[in-house]
Each structure stands twice: as C-alpha cells, then as structure tokens.
Symmetry: C2
C-alpha cells in the first residue's frame, strides 16, 4: 500500500461539508468561512509514549486526537469548519489505520468537521491535527476576559480521566478504587464541549462581554492559572462546590484533590462570567445539555486559593504539566 | 527552560499581522480573513532522518520547514495570513532553538506570514507546520484545471537541489560536478514563488479561467502527473526548452535528466494556461521577478511524453516519491 492508496483507502471521503470548497488532493484545501466571521485555529501534536501508550486502541486514539483539538475550538466558542491531519507512521499497517480512521472520522462526522487535507510520512508515530473554526468578532471566549467579581464555572466534573490513567499505570492508591468504565471512557474518548462553547459565545439573553474560558487538558488549577495570568486577576475555588464523580469518593483526600484539581485530560470547560449573566449561563448549559456548576469566584487579589468546607483557605499552585521541566 | 519559557523566548513576538486578531497564548489563534475570500490551508510534517539530516543547520531547517508550506500557498495563488508550528523535541536546546526560530521567523517576516500558535512537546524531532492563506473565489490555481492545448510552464529551473543532495550523500556521479553554493542554497533554503502564484491567480489582462498549478516537491514528472490525473489529460515536455543550470550541464545525460525531471525539492511552480494567456503569463512573470519558461503542452492523449531535440519521443513515468513503497 503506497502513500496515495493509504490516503485514498483510509482518509479520503467524497463528502465535504457546507464550508469545504476543495478537500484532500490539491496543494491546499479551500474553505469558505461564513461572511463576517473570524477564523479560530488550534494545533496539537500527539507523540507515542508521551501522550498515549504504544498499545493504545487505534480507534480510541483517532477519537482522542481530534477531540483534544475540538476541545480548543469549544473553549473559544467556535463552530468547527474542518481539520488537517499530519501523520508520521513507522509502517503502513492496514488494520491499525482502519481503526484509527474509524475513530477519527466518526467524531469528525458527529461535529460536521471534515478532514480537508494533511500529510503522510514515515517516521516515529506522531499525529498532528490542526483544526479550524469560526466565531463572530468580539464573541470569542478569550483567556484575558476574566474580571474580579466574576463567577467561576465548570462544565461536567474533573478527575475521572486521571484516576483511569493511574489505574492503567498500576499506581497503588488508584487501585484502591474499583476500575470504572466511565473513568476509562473519559480518559480514552473525551467529549469536546462544543455546543456549550458556542452557546457561551452567543449567550442569548445577556448582552455583556463574552465569558473568559479555557478547556481543561493539564488540570483544573494549572489551566485556571492561564486565565488568571492573562486577565491579571486571582480566584477562589470552593471545594464543597466541586462535583465529585462516584469512583473518586472513596479515595484518600490527598489523591482525590490531586485528581480533581491537578488531574489532566478532563476536556471540560472552565469559564467566568459576571453574576448578572447567571440566568443566561444556566440557559446555555441546559440548551447544550452540559451540566454547569458555579465553583468559585474571580478576585482582585492575584493567586489561587482553595476554600474548604470548614472555611479554611489554602494556596494552590496554579501551574500545570510542562513537557520540558 | 520550561515549555512556556521556551515559547516566550524563541517563538512569541509582540507583532502580529494585519489579519491577526489574537496570536500565541490562548486556546485558539484568531484570524480575520479579507471579506469574500476563501481560505487556503496546507500542512507538512518534517521528520529527522527522513526529510533532513540529524546535523542539519537549524537556521536552514527553520527556513525550509516554512518555505515548503508557503510553496503550497504559492501553488494555489493564495496570499499568506499566518501559520502554526507543532514541534516535538528530544530536549530544549537553547542554541538550536535560537537558530531554528531565526530561520523560521525571518522567512515569516519576509512574507508577512506570522506564527500565530501551535504546540510544543517532547519526542523524536518532528516539525509540523500548517499554513493559512486567502484567495478570491474561483481564482485558486487548482490541479484539475488543465485543458488540452494549454501551454505548460515552469518557473525557474529544476535539478539543482537534487544535485546538492547527491553530493551531500557522496553519490559518485554527483561528485563529478563541482560543489556549487547555488545548488546547496536551493536545497537548504528554497524560495517559495508566492508573488508569481498570486500574479497567476490575478492574471491582469486576461479574463479566462485560472491556470492549473502545482509546486514541485517530488520531481517535475511526478508532480506533473498529479495535474494530469486530476485534469484527465496528458502532456508533452520539450527537452530543449527545459532550463539547465550550469552545474548540471557537465553531468552524464541520464543523471542530468534524473535531476531535471525527477529531482525533487525544487519548489518551483509548474502551471498551464491556454495560448491566449501568453502575454498575461509573461507579464505575471515579469511583475513577480520570476523567470517563466514554456516547456511543453497539454494533450488530450493521457500519459506524459518527453520530446527530445531530434524529435524522438519517449514515455515518462509520471509518479513521484512515495513514503510507503
């Protein structure tokens, strides 16, 4: 199977999407964004042994590679237009490629985000996806938009993916909890919160500034830190208001907090909006079928603090995973 | 040096470009294309040991990684808007990164194509660039637009990069030619033909269909094959009309033809247009300071044929390099 046959067999589809003028097979793909919209772009690279295990299910890998990119569009409030895939493969393994493209393209179809181009080469397994979306000017959910007094919101809940990862690694404390298919699904097949992101960028019934938002890939505290630094503010998280999934409830407290606050791979949205937007935020959550919870508040005082149920406060380190430290 | 310090030190610039609403540092970059334009997108992945030698000059690598992507925009007739870079590095080597970003960003500046985002991770050295441009609807230079009777044009000349590559490899026939800085420059620092591509997409003074075009990365014959298959036509190349760079003139004929027709890494434009567009094509070449030569003709008969100076005809194989065969 040569390079072009590989692309034709596993990645090329007759269909495009309403925005695709020209897909796979020319020097460039051509997209037609909606008039007046801005283009939102994100790129993520996944490396074997670093972002996934060598024996990963290829279908799950295909799903996740696109999901983490779509999650960035969600965090900007953008509507997907399409994506490119650059793929370095040690060899052209037909069964592996079939699984990978099945997982990838099923998620692409579910979000009307067609594969429009890319590159294929030989090399150590490496996937680079770049995703394109569109958003109306002034409505993107930027990290620098948080203001003191804003409520801090979380979609869904955090920590399950981390618990599943530690169980796969055989970490003793994680093995004290029963393996849970829900946790494993969260780790392997995250669901990007696209509908919620778009609802927040629209926010029917509330005409104020667009919310600040980020998607959670490196842990709640660390990713919140990006919003705090970009906006020049601080935050308090109320521990009692953090949703805790059932499999995490039996963990020792330190490990439960590690999963909730520093877990990683959550792909939930963390966002802020003023109290006047509470009704609109609740409506956005309902309309997009995303559970949305107020978990804290943005403060003029910089830094990140955790408020325990008994009122005690402790400082949290608001930095996340770093590939080079 | 951590991941964010690495990005800040080597890749983040205060400046953006006229189309950049939001650059590095959020979940997505935001671009504002010109009203009514289509978006042209291309992505290329470069792997150590496959696309470049491990001891490559990092400045040349930075230049080339972007140049090969800009060349795809040129082949579509698009104006650059910006690009993303995803980078897997075995370690954060400050001196290497400084050279790489110098070469990369100098070319980006020269073409007003700012770096707007991307990803950094640890892993075997791998660079994935995705580039974005814009073009007016109906004016993109597509591979499927060649028609029988069209002239076949080449910008610049082919073969020098291949000669330099074979000299670096120590291939005996290549060592019969003197090493030439011009050839090495063609291999290591190709010049994307952006001005020519845009001129062809505009074609002042000629109102017909947009030319068909492709950029030459895998050899003239193989890349021409993509145009022929997409357009359902054939072509004849007149050998006497192919420009030959001085360092290639002393090579044995078989190797000279190999360099000219199957060399690779040329990053010239190969394009077709009807004879009625000859004046406009010549003007486009002059305006963009690109030497442009008519080297053959598109035929209704499929396949690719080489016409020698004595009138003899031979069939050429119109397929290029394949990473998996």
């Amino acid at each position: 199977m040569g390079e072009f046959e590989l692309i034709r067999r596993h990645f090329q589809r007759a269909a495009g999407g309403p925005s695709v003028v020209l897909g796979i097979g020319d020097d460039c793909a051509l997209l037609q964004p909606s008039p007046g919209h801005q283009l939102a772009i994100s790129s993520d690279m996944l490396v074997e042994g670093r972002h996934f295990f060598p024996d990963v299910n290829p279908q799950a890998l295909g799903h996740k590679a696109l999901a983490v990119n779509l999650s960035d569009l969600a965090a900007m409030g953008a509507r997907p237009l399409g994506f490119t895939l650059a793929l370095a493969l040690p060899q052209a393994d037909d069964a592996w490629l079939r699984g990978f493209s099945d997982g990838l393209l099923a998620l692409a179809d579910a979000h009307a985000c067609p594969l429009v181009g890319g590159d294929t080469t030989r090399g150590p397994l490496n996937l680079c996806i770049t995703v394109f979306g569109e958003v109306l000017p002034g409505r993107a959910l930027r990290r620098d938009a948080a203001r003191p007094g804003d409520d801090l919101y979380l979609s869904g809940r955090t920590g399950e993916a981390r618990l599943a990862l530690e169980q796969q690694r055989g970490t003793p404390w994680a093995l004290t909890a029963m393996p849970d298919d829900g946790c494993r699904e969260r780790l392997e097949r995250p669901t990007p919160r696209l509908a919620l992101g778009r609802a927040l960028a629209g926010l029917d019934g509330w005409e104020g500034r667009a919310p600040a938002a980020i998607d959670l890939s490196d842990g709640l505290a660390g990713d919140l830190g990006h919003i705090l630094r970009a906006s020049g503010v601080g935050a308090e998280i109320r521990l009692a208001d953090l949703p805790v999934a059932p499999p995490l409830r039996g963990l020792p407290e330190a490990q439960r907090l590690e999963c909730l606050l520093h877990g990683g791979d959550d792909y939930e949205l963390l966002f802020t909006a003023p109290p006047s937007a509470r009704g609109a935020i609740a409506a956005a959550g309902t309309a997009s079928q995303a559970p949305v919870q107020r978990i804290g508040v943005i403060t003029p005082q910089t830094g990140l603090r955790l408020i325990r149920a008994n009122g005690e406060t402790e400082a949290l380190i608001a930095t996340g995973f770093d590939h080079f430290t």
